[in-house]
């Protein structure tokens, strides 16, 4: 006769459900009130999923390199010629830009701007995975606390703001991008310094825009194409980082504020490499 295996505790499915529900609520409560996720969980994630993602990223990069090497010599030579021409054009452009730069520095001093974000110390990182669902725009980078990354550090790509670090493991960090539905950035116009609130929205992602609101409806003429940068009053974002360009602006029905849409400076569909600014806004403020 077959002996029935005694599992010892003899839990039925329903008992187990109640216990696990209680555990989940406990986890929600603890993580909600302590504003952090658990170190053992982060460690577990860091030794299981993250190495696989990094490995895939390495393989993908290697394959990409090998494919690139197969360009023919003629292609490379033609490209070289084009590039030489471009270099000559750019040298001329650069000279006139240098003049603009000196004027900008003078004006910055006039407005008492402390730093442009070119002066911040930065760490490069690769994007190794995206968010697992379709509701949020978060991604994971391959640097973590071992490399000096901490929560609330700003993340930028070549042209502008990408997002902010939300969670850190020893060899990974998760970043919430500014187009994410729960993201809010305090920003201002570059020319007139009018403060506004920039919020990501899931309904706008397919059109490639983000919303801004609460911009004062004063006499300043703000047009489409105006550059929007992070403002001084943001508690988490360093000031002066380019967010995007206004693509639509209108006055609200209350006649007191303006709102509209911004096209982000960064192409979020094709992010692969980012820079993490290791200066934190909080430490900056306290240092002053």
């Amino acid at each position: 006769m077959k002996k029935k295996r005694n599992t010892g505790l003899n839990l039925t499915g329903n008992h187990l459900l109640l216990i696990v529900t209680a555990v989940c609520f406990l986890l929600i409560g603890v993580s909600f009130f302590t504003e952090s996720s658990f170190a053992p969980l982060r460690f577990f994630a860091g030794i299981t999923v993250v190495p696989m993602e990094k490995g895939l990223n390495t393989i993908g990069t290697w394959i990409q390199d090998k494919a690139d090497n197969y360009e023919t010599l003629q292609q490379v030579q033609a490209e070289n010629q084009q590039l030489q021409q471009k270099v000559d054009e750019l040298t001329i452009e650069n000279d006139s830009l240098q003049e603009d730069k000196y004027e900008m520095q003078r004006l910055q001093e006039l407005y008492k701007l402390d730093q442009s974000y070119q002066d911040y110390s930065k760490i490069g990182a690769h994007v190794i995975s995206k968010d697992s669902g379709n509701w949020f725009s978060q991604f994971v980078i391959d640097k973590g606390s071992d490399d000096g990354i901490a929560v609330d550090m700003n993340v930028i790509a070549g042209n502008g703001l990408v997002g902010i670090v939300t969670d850190v493991g020893s060899n990974w960090a998760s970043v919430r991008s500014i187009i994410d539905d729960s993201s809010n950035v305090s920003a201002m116009t570059l020319s007139t310094s009018d403060i506004c609130l920039v919020a990501g929205d899931l309904t706008q992602i397919s059109e490639g825009t983000i919303k801004f609101s609460d911009m004062e409806n004063n006499d300043n003429d703000i047009k489409v194409g105006e550059t929007i940068v992070t403002s001084y009053v943001s508690s988490k974002y360093l000031s002066g980082i380019v967010v995007g360009y206004i693509s639509q602006i209108k006055v609200d029905p209350n006649n007191l504020t303006r709102s509209g849409l911004i096209t982000p400076a960064v192409d979020f569909k094709h992010i692969q490499d980012v820079l993490v600014i290791t200066d934190l806004k909080a430490t900056q403020n306290s240092a002053d």
């Binding site: 077959k2 002996k3 295996r5 599992t7 839990l11 499915g13 329903n14 187990l16 459900l17 696990v20 529900t21 989940c24 609520f25 406990l26 986890l27 929600i28 409560g29 603890v30 993580s31 909600f32 996720s37 658990f38 969980l41 982060r42 577990f44 994630a45 299981t48 999923v49 696989m52 993602e53 895939l56 190794i128 995975s129 995206k130 968010d131 697992s132 669902g133 379709n134 509701w135 949020f136 978060q138 994971v140 939300t166 969670d167 998760s174 919430r176 539905d181 729960s182 899931l202 309904t203 992602i205 397919s206």
Partner: protein
């Protein structure tokens, strides 16, 4: 301890599926929607293995999703656990050659998942454009997930049945 070995293998399968969902499946996204492999896994293991298996696999999937989501830990776990449990309740109606019921269950689980994620993460923040989310996120993800299920159905069922057989065979050996 064959039960422990089986659960460890299931955990490894969850980790691999999560890794695939975050990387390769994002590259094959249509209309910026990618399929939800974890729901397929939770649902399938739920209605083959029963309530307890469903709860276990749901908890693993949910916790892994929570770790990388950057927000409070435990919310996704709760959603996946209940989906695993509800699928487990259907175990008595399942037989091996059936395709319709599993497909229906996976589609139902995916729809329920979409609704609860909307309710927990969006409704509570005052985003009321439910028709938009329904038409652009929930339904496309449902269709894509069911499509992927049809592709991987045979290997997935084979894997789960192999795991169950492995546990049963060792249980018989103890007699």
């Amino acid at each position: 301890m064959e039960s422990l070995r089986k659960h460890l293998i299931l955990l490894a399968v969850v980790i691999v599926c999560f890794f695939l969902q975050c990387t390769l499946l994002k590259d094959i996204a249509l209309a910026s929607v990618s399929p939800n492999l974890l729901i397929i896994l939770t649902s399938a293991i739920g209605f083959i293995g029963g309530r307890r298996e469903g709860i276990f696999i749901g908890f693993c999937c949910g916790i892994l999703t929570d770790i990388f989501s950057g927000s409070t830990v435990g919310l996704y776990a709760l959603i996946y656990v209940y989906i695993g449990y509800f699928n487990g309740c259907f175990r008595q109606y399942f037989y091996n050659e059936d395709v319709k019921l599993p497909l229906f269950l996976i589609a139902g689980s995916e729809f329920l998942y979409g609704l609860t994620v909307y309710a927990a993460f969006f409704l509570l923040r005052g985003k009321f454009q439910f028709p938009y989310y329904l038409m652009h996120i929930i339904i496309p993800e449902l269709v894509y997930t069911v499509g992927i299920t049809l592709l991987i159905y045979q290997p997935l069922m084979a894997l789960i049945r192999w795991l169950n057989r492995m546990e049963k065979r060792s249980a018989d050996k103890l007699v």
